[in-house]
């Protein structure tokens, strides 16, 4: 245990806490969706798959975004050691996000859709999100004041916030007939925006992780080093130009595909560095593994390696031709959003929410088992999707015209293991999340004056 403090729940923490509720909600709908894979027509009357999928996907993406924002705010304020420019603006931002996300999820229940990936909600509901994001940028810039002489994570937060706004607005260009009147044009711009948007929230999350890593290791030099900036610029370059790997089979401009292919290959530099640093990463891990937040960072390292290998392969058009439209894409999407984003965000949540109103001692075992259960089951989950994808790919490429329904029957064993592993995964994650949420809720309910302890988690 560290020093006692009387820290109250702050707005940045409320972002993270809201995120934790969203992920639990999203996990439950993931399980429902997986059941619908196994039992055709399950809940068809009132909760059909076209409702369940966006309920799942939007909840977990909101978890990623709102928690990334909460983490970014927490660390900006810690880093600058200054007061926030406007505590009103950040509160409005939180309220706009939370209420809009709730409205969106309710609209899905009632079958009211915007009907486009990944934002399947009616476009009007995008307005409060844009407004909240503009407030975020203003508040951020005014708080940080200058963009000069900052470590790499500040650069990442800055580019992440600005590019998110740009790409989010870009993803609504379809409302103009100029873009929408031709599907190929429309899909080109759609995937341009989404591809870069994912890169933008990753900037926020990776920025927070580097900050957190520095804090744990006590080494402030890395975030100002050349290698940190080289990796940052590689990431930014990919954010801007690699999105074409989503649309290799779309009959769009060929140069888009060539540019994306070449740019995606620069990620080999990141893989190379991971391999080069393997030994020192491992010894660092052994030293710090007793800390919960570090444990999640270490897990994310392994998932980064596995998913980056898969991603680089899928960015080669000749391989993408086989993997595209199969569950290998889903393995990639969920592999990265769970293995990398969720693990990193949990590291951040563990670090920021560990001031306690309850003693964490009785929960330590639960949290540790949850961690291992989640990671092992995620591996099975990931492999099941990859195998299902390989089989679908064979079907897609085969000259025999086997009916779609028959192919799905062939994939069924892997959907079973997907469902089981997914349910165990959700259980593991909830075991990890539960004590954090319980503690924070008690902190909020706690009548003032009670001392809050900081537990070493």
């Amino acid at each position: 245990m560290e020093q006692l403090n009387t820290e109250k729940i702050t707005t940045p923490k409320l972002f993270i806490l809201s995120g934790l509720f969203l992920v639990v909600f999203g996990l439950l709908f993931g399980i429902v969706g997986a059941f619908q894979y196994i039992i055709p027509g399950l809940f068809k009357e009132y909760l059909s798959f076209e409702k369940v999928r966006p309920l799942h996907v939007s909840s977990v993406i909101f978890w990623i975004i709102i928690t990334a924002v909460g983490g970014t705010w927490t660390y900006i304020l810690e880093y600058t050691q200054k007061k926030i420019y406007s505590s009103i603006l950040i509160k409005i931002q939180l309220i706009l996000f939370v209420f809009t996300f709730i409205a969106i999820l309710i609209s899905y229940f009632f079958g009211v859709f915007g009907g486009r990936e990944y934002w399947e909600f009616p476009p009007l509901l995008a307005l409060p999100i844009v407004l909240g994001w503009v407030l975020f940028i203003i508040n951020f810039i005014k708080t940080i004041k200058t963009i000069k002489h900052h470590p790499v994570y500040v650069w990442m937060w800055f580019t992440g916030t600005v590019f998110f706004l740009f790409t989010f607005l870009e993803s609504y260009l379809w409302i103009f007939p100029y873009f929408r009147n031709n599907v190929v044009n429309d899909m080109t711009i759609q995937w341009k925006s989404y591809g870069s948007m994912v890169g933008s929230w990753n900037m926020l999350i990776y920025g927070c992780s580097i900050y957190l890593m520095d804090k744990i290791s006590g080494n402030k030099a890395y975030a100002r080093s050349n290698i940190a900036f080289a990796l940052y610029f590689t990431g930014l370059f990919n954010l801007m130009f690699n999105w074409g790997h989503h649309i290799y089979v779309l009959p769009t401009h060929n140069f888009i595909k060539h540019i994306s292919y070449l740019v995606s290959m620069t990620e080999l530099f990141i893989i190379g560095r991971i391999i080069y640093k393997w030994n020192s990463t491992l010894s660092e891990a052994k030293k710090n593994f007793y800390r919960s937040s570090y444990r999640f960072l270490a897990a994310a390292d392994v998932w980064i390696f596995l998913n980056l290998l898969l991603a680089i392969m899928m960015s080669i058009p000749a391989i993408n031709l086989y993997t595209h439209g199969t569950h290998i894409t889903v393995a990639h999407t969920m592999g990265t959003t769970i293995g990398i984003n969720t693990m990193l965000l949990l590291a951040i949540a563990y670090e920021t929410l560990s001031n306690s109103c309850i003693s964490f001692e009785p929960y330590k075992k639960l949290m540790k088992s949850g961690y291992w259960i989640a990671n092992f089951s995620l591996f099975i989950f990931w492999i099941s999707l990859i195998i299902a994808g390989i089989l679908k790919s064979k079907w897609q490429m085969s000259t025999e015209q086997i009916p779609f329904a028959e192919m799905k029957e062939m994939l069924k064993p892997y959907f079973y293991s997907f469902l089981i592993a997914g349910t165990v995964l959700a259980t593991g994650l909830i075991m990890v999340i539960y004590p954090l949420v319980k503690n924070q809720v008690l902190c909020i309910l706690n009548t003032e004056g009670k001392q809050i302890e900081k537990t070493e988690l």
């Binding site: 859709f113 000069k148 873009f179 044009n185 089979v249 292919y261 058009p317 000749a318 595209h324």
Partner: protein, 133 residues
């Protein structure tokens, strides 16, 4: 060490490149605009309103519970599709479309079909890893 100035130059350069690329793409979209029929626009709206994309893919993008529909129009023909839409299936809900709505969806699927082929078997693979249609 990269100096502060070098970093700023680099980020400004990248941002300008990105913005130019974006503006170029908005201006020179892959296909010249054709005006499309009102029926087809209605079909697009219905496609989005009923979130068909959550279960179906076009060009391999979308949800995975149902089949890719990019070229379903030429593969199955309008009567077959209309019958499917009227009856629903074990998994696909019965949406209770009117005659006109079915016509609109068919117009949309026909337009989609004409936009290109989404079948991976129709591509040729080159030695450098690129693919050709």
């Amino acid at each position: 060490m990269l100096s502060e100035k070098q970093k700023l130059v680099l980020i400004i350069f990248l941002t300008i490149a990105f913005l130019s690329y974006s503006v170029y793409l908005y201006t020179f979209l892959p296909y010249k605009q054709r005006k499309i029929s009102e029926q087809c626009v209605k079909g697009m709206d219905l496609w989005q309103k009923y979130n068909c994309n959550a279960c179906h893919q076009v060009y391999g993008l979308g949800g995975y519970l149902g089949p890719d529909l990019t070229n379903v129009y030429s593969k199955r023909g309008p009567e077959y599709i209309a019958a499917f839409l009227q009856s629903g299936t074990q998994i696909m809900p019965k949406f209770n479309f009117s005659e006109d709505e079915i016509k609109s969806l068919l117009a949309f699927l026909e337009m989609m079909d004409k936009s290109g082929k989404a079948d991976p078997r129709t591509y040729k693979i080159n030695k450098d890893g690129t693919i050709e249609y």
